[in-house]
Symmetry: C2
Subunit: 336 residues, 2 copies
């Protein structure tokens, strides 16, 4: 292991480490042109690059941001990760991407590890579990972090007070349902996400609210749950179709569900949107290329990721940013 340190550079240039450090960090400190050049030359010749571990030890935090996501292979989180890594990189940060695989235990563990690495902050694109034990643990973590000066921002509702950058999930569910209602639909099913997830809960509430306002009777059989995955959407839709026959539209709580739903619908011989309309929430990359192209509520994932990094790096207390989401009209919804 042939590592060159600041001491090597100092020796090579015939100056002190202090001087090298000053040159490296470009502080507005008077250094003679000649000395600076000597140092720069030595740095170049020795291919010196500072050791981040040492810097981190000294500064008590590293140029690193932690991102916790449910599933990095899901486009939803992929776009967030792209936003985070892009902006982080612009600001000289690197990003730890932590994949929970939808496992809350792992998620809590990641908080610890991230803290051990003295990251600048944590962006939480996971959690949101409506379970006392999970929520308590998360609050503990939050308290610890608060005490230790570690910044945290959430991209999804957590059911507790926490700085956030997100859309209004309730409005999201409401908007897509209203969109359908405005186009004459009344027999509308809803395929939701996990029952214990605040995101699902809010979107479902929005759905019910829209129905309620329009005076459409609420039918329990029309509501199914899934796990927010394509496969989950596929299974949920099949289950739904086995129970209900007179649907004219399906509200999917996210695009993955819609993708699975469309696949199941096709298997059953339904043509979209002639026989049945489909709408969802997310507008992930593939929505545009579905057949037919999917009408969906556009969530600015990439922007959310970028903004979250800004929140972490320019820390202020009490950040509560609600982003706009509007429906992207394509061809999966028909007007009755």
């Amino acid at each position: 292991m042939n590592t060159v340190s600041i001491v090597d550079v100092a020796k090579h240039a015939g100056v002190s480490v202090t001087t090298v450090s000053r040159v490296m960090n470009n502080v507005d400190y008077p250094i003679s042109k000649k000395t600076r050049e000597k140092v720069l030359k030595a740095i170049d010749e020795l291919q010196y690059t500072p050791n981040k571990a040492a810097q981190g030890l000294k500064n008590n935090f590293s140029d690193v941001i932690g991102l916790i996501v449910r599933d990095i292979s899901d486009s939803y989180y992929g776009e967030i990760a792209r936003g985070v890594t892009t902006r982080a990189s612009e600001l000289g940060y690197l990003s730890f991407v932590c994949n929970t695989g939808r496992n809350p235990e792992d998620e809590l563990m990641y908080h610890d590890i991230l803290w051990q690495h003295r990251v600048k902050g944590i962006i939480l694109a996971a959690g949101g579990l409506d379970q006392v034990d999970y929520k308590n643990k998360l609050m503990n973590q939050l308290a610890r972090h608060e005490k230790s000066g570690l910044n945290i921002v959430s991209l999804a509702p957590q059911g507790i007070e926490i700085p956030y950058v997100m859309i209004n999930e309730f409005e999201a569910g409401k908007k897509i349902t209203e969109y359908l209602i405005e186009r004459g639909h009344t027999k509308i099913a809803f395929i939701g996400g996990p029952q214990k997830l605040y995101t699902s809960i809010e979107r479902l509430k929005g759905f019910k609210s829209a129905l309620d306002i329009a005076g459409i009777e609420y039918n329990k059989d029309y509501i199914t749950k899934s796990d927010f995955s394509q496969n989950g959407g596929y299974e949920a839709c099949k289950l739904l179709l086995s129970k209900v026959k007179d649907l004219t539209a399906i509200c999917c709580a996210n695009d993955n569900i819609a993708i699975g739903t469309m696949s199941a619908l096709r298997e059953h011989g339904y043509i979209i949107p002639k026989d049945i309309s489909v709408i969802s929430i997310g507008d992930i990359n593939e929505a545009k290329y579905m057949i037919p192209p999917l009408t969906t509520l556009s969530i600015p994932h990439y922007e959310m990721g970028k903004m979250a990094v800004d929140v972490i790096t320019q820390w202020k207390e009490k950040v509560e940013i609600t982003l706009n989401a509007s429906i992207c009209e394509r061809e999966s919804v028909r007007t009755l």
Copy 2:
């Protein structure tokens, strides 16, 4: 900033830091039960967690793996990232995910930064550019890394000697073409990836080879390029359709291209696979849920990611692992 260090624990427990360190690291060192318990209690009470920066400084490397990808929001890389982060986490590592946004300059910069962080190794799911200047720079990096003992493994052909875990890209292009030929197709178009990318180059070579072996005449108009994105595939297909009319099948160099292609085909009124067949390479998550479900060569991205981590953590010289890829038959190809 209220950080508790090993010294605090030692004081609190009334022992030396050495003892605390030994307890923490669970080395098979004889420690009296009473002492161990005292230490454990102190650790718990103080909520002590070791500082990774300090550990990294001491050990000269950190429990971190760097992953460089072209586009983290692309399912192709998403699955790789999932494999990497999952396996890394199992082994106690964290992963820096570096997104090049398909920019070679950024990519080289990431090599530097990763080295500064003294990562255990770098997994390269990018690069592969057939350009002298890029290749030279990459080789420089490799040489530097070699000298410094930093492990590197590539998941794609780079045109230079480098440890790798990947599929045979040439065979991939050949296999999907043969699949079409076996089913009676002769008017076969090819929509490839970027011209300068070894992955594209190899897949195209494979296509041509299969044609050649089958004695099918090679038609230049049948071959188009894209950028491996859905949008690129869409545009390329539209261009193709404007020039060529008698196609019975299209070979897409990856699934994204196929997704865009199917979308374009639909716009032109073609029904898949009745009017035209589509096949591709990758088998990303959404392939299964396309309408119709996409027949594609299945690349084990997740496994590749996992194996790459093993290669990094259990380093041996000269790793050359070629993975199997077989065609996943679905409904986008018709037998003539």
